[in-house]
Symmetry: C2
Subunit: 385 residues, 2 copies
Amino acid sequence: MVSPSSVDDLEAERLARLTLSLVFEPGDPRAAKLCAEVGARELVDRLRSDRAAADIKTDAGTRLPYVQPERDLERAAVMGLRFVIPDDPEWPAWLDGLAAAPPLAERGGVPLGLWVRGRRRLDEVGRALAIVGSRAATTYGTDTAARIAGTVAQGGWSVISGGAYGVDQAAHRGSMGVGGTTVAVMAHGLDRTYPAGHVDLVDAIAERGLVVSELAPGSAPTRIRFLARNRLIAAFAQGSVVVEAKVRSGALNTANWTGRLHRPVMGVPGPVTSAFSAGVHALLRTGAATLVTSGEEVLEVVGRVGEHMLAEPRAPERARDRLTVRLQQVLDAVPIGRPTSTDGVARTAGIGIVEARRGLDKLEQHGLVSSADGGWRLTDAALTH
Amino acid sequence: MVSPSSVDDLEAERLARLTLSLVFEPGDPRAAKLCAEVGARELVDRLRSDRAAADIKTDAGTRLPYVQPERDLERAAVMGLRFVIPDDPEWPAWLDGLAAAPPLAERGGVPLGLWVRGRRRLDEVGRALAIVGSRAATTYGTDTAARIAGTVAQGGWSVISGGAYGVDQAAHRGSMGVGGTTVAVMAHGLDRTYPAGHVDLVDAIAERGLVVSELAPGSAPTRIRFLARNRLIAAFAQGSVVVEAKVRSGALNTANWTGRLHRPVMGVPGPVTSAFSAGVHALLRTGAATLVTSGEEVLEVVGRVGEHMLAEPRAPERARDRLTVRLQQVLDAVPIGRPTSTDGVARTAGIGIVEARRGLDKLEQHGLVSSADGGWRLTDAALTH
């Protein structure tokens, strides 16, 4: 990559990268690779002067005569959109991890640039988690996504998702509900909103966080654009949480990208009777994902060592639980009904009378037995615990 | 262990082992170890003649004067119960795995003998799976336990459980419902039934399978007897499935025993909002258990290689899924509305016109586009898939 020595250089680089992003489908690994090898401006020159390899030249030739990057930038600025490139100070370094990840479904590579809507800088996103899942999620899925998003947001983590119905929407809302930063990565141009019903949600995200896309204004979403987009959701985050996913779900593609970036994939289990959890269960079964049940557990997986110390879930400790097995054996030998002699307790417990007596004395100190009425009996405390 | 050379020897061994099992609490690892080292009859002699180590002699001394093994055997025979020992031909070899497993909660070791109710031989149990979980299970838990039990039973596997309410009961019933063999391992004497409401269930199990206990008739269940019993549930099975369990649940003790026997532990996930799945999720999170969602998956985990081949869950394949990414790219470029020229498709797809035309021809063969009315359009098949 050629480092720009002036503002003019930076803007020339921006126009070249925008040109390439208008010519190639997002996530075309050939474009990213050539751009990294020879630089964006040289690649545009080669394509224009017929010096590029046959396959890429043929593909680029169909769109190259029609692109108008300057006009696109002007129009986008009016809509509050900017096109950010790797040479810009706000470019987040962690996206460059995509350069080393092998392609998936023929998509891959560092994006040529990113269209951004929102006042915050891209690198302000900081530590972030992707929370993804079904559009047609159940209320279990959306409730769980919102709860996890709220917890990680309170822990200072941004939440990345795809701005869709279902889990995506719940994740964005869960983050914003506690004042967190959230980023929606879209598979279409930011001059429009899909689904149309999400205009208010996307406006709110742009207000407090960021809306991002590889695609220029005017671009419609397609299947391969969703596949390309998923790698960006994964790359923006230090780990991904799949909340609900059927066995064929785009969320699993995002999880796959997270694995390719060597970042942790997490999955939220659900009822085995729910088709919306079947895709997550498959991830967990193969070991591709770690099971998480709460935002605290998510932070434990991605957090720095010791930063998010998590106590394993425990039931409240009962007096009985503090007893040794031998003392338990003595306690079990004290009948519920009529009082019994020390000898009777020893025989029932199957231990010597001296140890039995010592045990009964200790149990009396714990308030679990009493020796009134000429024999040993369980106390109310022992019976209710 | 002394191998008996005659029927008299076998019966002397049986009486000695019964004596020891009446003197020591079940799963006392000292008794199992000494019995394996010096033989049951020699150990009884040593306890009777004061030649045993002080700790074990003191414990044994409280009960030894009162035991009446011959009388117990006679009375039990009337009730249809037999006391089976390792020298009996029906002793299942796989219980001996307990000899090498380290104690847990001070319980452990091969049982001295087993009380059995039922007409089948102990070793007829054959390949078996333990299915365990909460007594107070939800309907999700009991439905899932019954379904998994039914599937593994149809696969020829016996189902082992503890005869309790909830998951245990559902597992036994699920097995019997498809004509499977099931074994209930109890923590009390087989002259009685806990819970009392399970008389019919336990009768049915004894009729078609087996009811088993380490404890002599007349013995009540206690906490440490449940802990000792759990190791037998694990030892009878080639693997354990935990269906629902709170974070402090006896089912987790059974899972722990299964791990100590180096046999697979499996866990059924559930909603993260259910306390009854929290114990299972903890097992899955630590990697102590493998996630399973069906009986087929259970069989895949425990089955011999290739015996239970399991196809990963898949959604039905659609015509689009068979397309290459490049063909998909062409298909995505064909608009839903008015027909478009090949040149238009090529420009929208961002690929050369020659390849675009070749792609459109292939898509027409697949029935996804048609070239009527002077241009390309999507077919109904493409729109509905």
